[in-house]
């Protein structure tokens, strides 16, 4: 048999493995080549995404002409090499058996109480290549039972086979190199320097890649065995990175989530939020429709609630639809269509966060309808990367990992912002200082060196915070036009990119079609089977929309997954909802809005429905329901019922909606322009803030171990400001509403800004300070 790969001949070598002739690309490792022809060589330390170390010696094989067995995971194939594995070489078989015996000498007989039991490479390989009987009669090495590497990850040291997968992951992939192999000989163990916790947003990955049960997670410990879990692939709903995950459940309860393999997106990694934050899926759900009667919510049957909602919406005047950033693309599309066709309004927004008109224009001009323009793969080969209003480690962790990979290959990262964060440090980023709110000036005043380095192979990443910095997006747009650098927008929430594509934003129909464009109107009217004239005129978005609700000029509302506390003007929205004539909320958990809504419909969470999330690249990541027997309706399903109660037929089936969206041709007509917006220079100290990856968000509730790995809430100031404040222990930051006092930290902060986390314990910016990013605050040393 001959196995051939069809690439350039000169880059290949001819080898023989167990008598099978192969032609493989130069540089291929023996273990990889053997996999291709279905020969499994035992291994522990080998991992395709980590550098080979040959630490465990489980993979020993024989090479003709080499007197001693060699590790297959580190041995590169060369021309004419004749490799013999355990299948054809007695030397390799005995060597592997010997290594296995040594590994088991100090391995406890712990399988019954070990989480890895049943899916353990050591168990499996001890059965396939080990000796049937143990010859060891001495005392085994023991350590006191598990120690915490951090609040979530536990380490049973006696189970460790010193493969260094975890330490290599920490150093090479995450860049949080505090996990190390300590001591020597039988005492060799994994640990952290000075017993400090392993601080990493990616710590769950070491649990997944540990080939034995040495690393386990507190949240899954002793929960179940692999054989009684049902595994379903899914897409993470937490952020716009779009990771492929695997959900394991047992008897209708999710027991754990793992990173799944998607080489184009998350490779084999995930962040701890995506992995561990899933308790919200089951806890505190709304389980039946609710209607308000005499000021109180009471549960109602579906037909009663539908009828009530339909009558209420029909009676009310001008309406609007607020789609939070968590909807699947199919659901967002259903909202977009429902608003235009049933309610006859274009007052629509998916940005349940600080936003601006400039951002809406920017999205229409640059992002909507341009899917897969910039991809993860491009990040690795880009020449320069410029980050604007974007903190990848907190806001798109998998993009952060890809950026690190790129940096190792020579990509230069520049970050424009008020804080040179830990993440910037790990990217060896070049810091372009900008006080919070003054990003536009910083971009316009970029060094000529940086500008000349930017070319068509460069990428400018803008995050959601750019919307809070007037003029920043205009400046980015101009910079892109001037240098040819491509612009990518990385929202934080998983549903935002898809909602934009689905047209859940005033002024934009699906596929980035301007609603003011006659051709666009005709195309959509045709697809929706309506008259183009019946499509509404351009509506209002963002802050204007919220003011209109507050002032009562919009008096009927549909909200979906919106939490007013995520908005700088949340109290305005809450007041508006209080006074609105009719509010329909589609929610799975109670919120400020459901407490004031006229009707509440419970909707499905990700485990109960199928759908897709579009990640920041514009890549569609479909997933199917984990619990296929779930009876909950999707948002689109509820909207379809509501539409028929209002005498309009609207499809509510996910697959049909997907098909309808896919049948729309890409938009080739003109786009709305981004009119240059003026920048404003704030006078005084401005507030720099963003949401940390692990914080007080509602979707992370009910996960104490995860919460305990969060970064501490601190106020970060520059050393100059620290001196000026008299080197205080705590700093008080005061806004229009009140103050926050937190421990002081000296960091690389731009001179006129102060940084604190946006939504972490004891630091809830909007609720406590009453202002947002880039706004002027007062800073004082000591308590208030």
């Amino acid at each position: 048999m001959t196995v051939t790969n069809h690439t350039e001949k000169t880059d290949h070598v001819n080898v023989v493995i167990d008598g099978i002739e192969m032609e493989v690309p130069k540089g291929t490792l023996v273990i990889r080549a053997a996999e291709q022809i279905g020969i499994e060589i035992p291994r522990f330390c080998d991992h395709p995404l980590l550098t080979p170390v040959a630490a465990c010696r489980a993979c020993l094989i024989e090479i003709d002409g080499v007197p001693k067995p060699q590790p297959a995971c580190a041995q590169v194939l060369s021309e004419g090499m004749n490799v013999r594995t355990q299948r054809s070489s007695e030397m390799a078989r005995i060597a592997q058996e010997g290594v296995m015996e040594f590994l088991l000498v100090n391995h406890p007989l712990d399988c019954p109480v070990c989480d890895k039991g049943g899916e353990c490479p050591l168990q499996n390989q001890a059965m396939t290549v080990g000796r049937a009987e143990s010859r060891f009669e001495g005392e085994k090495r023991t350590f006191p039972k598990p120690i915490n590497v951090n609040a979530q990850v536990l380490l049973d040291r006696e189970r460790c086979v010193s493969c260094a997968r975890c330490t290599r992951f920490a150093e090479e992939i995450a860049g949080d190199a505090s996990l190390e192999l300590l001591e020597r000989g039988a005492q060799q163990q994994v640990g952290t320097a000075n017993d400090e916790p392993f601080e990493s947003y990616f710590s769950g990955n070491v649990v997944q890649i540990c080939p034995v049960g040495a690393l386990t997670s507190a949240s899954y410990r002793f929960r179940s065995r692999p054989f009684d879990l049902v595994s379903v692939p899914t897409t993470c709903e937490h952020c716009a990175s779009g990771c492929s995950l695997r959900t394991d459940y047992r008897r209708g309860t999710v027991t754990r989530r793992l990173a799944w393999d998607d080489p184009e997106v998350n490779e084999e990694w995930s962040c701890d939020k995506g992995r561990f934050a899933f308790a919200y899926l089951a806890n505190g759900r709304i389980d039946s429709p609710l209607i308000r009667e005499n000021g109180e919510l009471r549960s109602a049957s579906w037909p009663e609630a539908m009828h009530f909602a339909a009558a209420g919406l029909a009676a009310a005047g001008t309406s609007a639809v607020l789609v939070g950033g968590r909807a699947t693309i199919e659901d967002a599309y259903a909202y977009s269509k429902f608003a235009r066709v049933v309610l006859g309004t274009d007052n629509l927004d998916f940005r349940a966060r600080a936003s601006s008109t400039e951002e809406a224009e920017f999205l229409a001009a640059h992002i909507a309808g341009t899917t897969l323009d910039v991809t993860y793969a491009d990040v690795e080969t880009a020449s320069q990367v410029l980050l604007v209003g974007f903190e990848p480690e907190d806001e798109s962790p998998i993009l952060f990992l890809r950026l690190r990979k790129g940096v190792k290959k020579g990509v230069t990262v520049h970050t424009v912002g008020p804080l040179y964060s830990l993440g910037s440090e790990k990217l060896s980023a070049h810091w372009i200082k900008a006080n919070a709110g003054s990003e536009a000036q910083a971009i316009k005043g970029l060094d000529s060196e940086v500008i000349s380095a930017l070319d068509s192979n460069s990428i400018i990443f803008v995050g959601e915070r750019a919307a809070s910095s007037p003029g920043a997006l205009s400046a980015v747009s101009q910079l892109g036009a001037k240098t040819g650098a491509r612009i990518a927008w990385v929202p934080r929430r998983a549903g935002e990119r898809g909602a934009l594509e689905a047209g859940a934003l005033a002024g934009l129909l699906p596929g980035g079609r301007p609603i003011s464009d006659p051709t666009a109107r005709t195309e959509i009217a045709q697809a929706w089977n309506i008259d183009a004239d019946s499509l509404p005129a351009v509506g209002v978005t963002g802050n204007e929309l919220i003011s209109a609700i507050a002032q009562g000029s919009i008096n009927a509302l549909i909200t979906a997954g919106v939490d007013p506390s995520d908005l700088p003007n949340g109290s305005e929205l809450t007041a508006g909802i209080e006074n609105a004539d009719f509010v329909v909320a589609l929610e799975n958990h109670h919120s400020e809005i459901t407490q004031r809504a006229s009707v509440v419909f419970p909707v499905a969470v990700v485990t109960e429905k199928s759908g897709s999330f579009m990640n920041w690249e514009g890549r569609n990541k479909p997933f199917s329901a984990a619990f296929r027997e779930a009876l909950t309706l999707t948002d689109a399903g509820v909207l379809s019922m509501l539409a028929s109660a209002m005498d309009v037929q609207l499809n509510g089936d996910t697959r049909a909606l997907r098909k309808e969206m896919n049948s729309l041709q890409p938009w080739s007509g003109s786009r709305t322009e981004l009119k240059p917006h003026a920048d404003s220079v704030p006078v005084g100290t401005t507030l720099a803030t963003w949401r940390l990856l692990i914080d007080s968000s509602v979707m992370q509730e009910g996960e104490p171990h995860l919460a305990a790995t969060a970064r501490p809430s601190l106020v970060a100031v520059s050393s100059a400001m620290f001196e000026q404040l008299g080197k205080p222990e705590v700093i008080t930051v005061t806004g229009p509403k009140g103050s926050i006092t937190l421990p002081a930290q000296v960091a690389e902060v731009s001179s006129e800004s102060v940084w604190l986390p946006m939504n972490s314990p004891e630091s809830h910016i909007y609720a406590q300070l009453g202002c947002g990013y880039g706004e002027v605050v007062t800073v004082k040393g000591g308590a208030a």
């Binding site: 399988c111 019954p112 109480v113 039991g117 049943g118 006191p144 410990r221 179940s224 009684d228």
Partner: protein, 194 residues
């Protein structure tokens, strides 16, 4: 020889049997006269250590071994406040579904701690399915003299290894107070341990 008519010949068997010893066992009237054989596979029992702690560690190996998928186990952590078994892990939920069980005993062979054994009890019939799912409290063995109902600490000064080595002979008074010390350190001492 004169052949008897077939009808009469047939009665020969009947009359012959009338005078033989009866083999029918009267159940349930005389059940106590005919106990099952000692190795009969009857209802399961979850055993305890001599001090009352449970032997089951919630490892699910019994559930894994079961060819009829009759067992459901969910493990949990023993905590400083509540200890049910020696060591780290105990079986929080334990159910055997007797509408499924075929009494093969493979679960017994799989159990690493001898927590699960079978009794001779066979009178399990019932008129509904729900009651045939036996919960942990239905399966746990009786409290024998010297045992103390968990949760409680291990015998002070012992470790889980001492339990597995069968060194525990009964509970000691210190175990009856509120649970405070969950430490597994220290050598076995006199008292509850041999």
């Amino acid at each position: 020889m004169l052949e008897l008519p077939a009808a009469v010949r047939g009665f020969g068997v009947t009359f012959g049997t009338i005078f033989k010893k009866v083999v029918t066992e009267q159940y349930p009237e005389d059940a106590s006269k005919y106990p099952p054989k000692p190795r009969f596979h009857g209802r399961h029992q979850l055993n305890r250590w001599a001090d009352g702690l449970e032997k089951c560690i919630g490892c699910e190996l019994c559930a894994w071994a079961c060819p009829a998928d009759a067992i459901f186990v969910q493990g949990a952590d023993n905590s400083a406040e509540e200890r049910f078994s020696p060591g780290e892990r105990y079986g929080r939920v334990y159910q055997i579904n007797y509408t499924r069980c075929i009494f093969c005993g493979l679960c017994i062979e799989a159990c690493p701690t001898r927590a699960l054994t079978m009794t001779n009890e066979f009178e399990l019939a019932d008129n509904n399915r729900a009651d045939l799912i036996y919960e942990k409290q239905d399966l746990l063995g009786p409290m024998l003299p010297g045992m103390l109902a968990p949760p409680h600490e291990m015998v002070p000064g012992t470790t889980d290894s001492d339990y597995y080595a069968n060194k525990i002979t009964g509970s000691v008074p210190e175990q009856s107070g509120p649970q405070q010390n969950n430490s597994q350190e220290g050598a076995p001492e006199q008292g509850g341990a041999e």
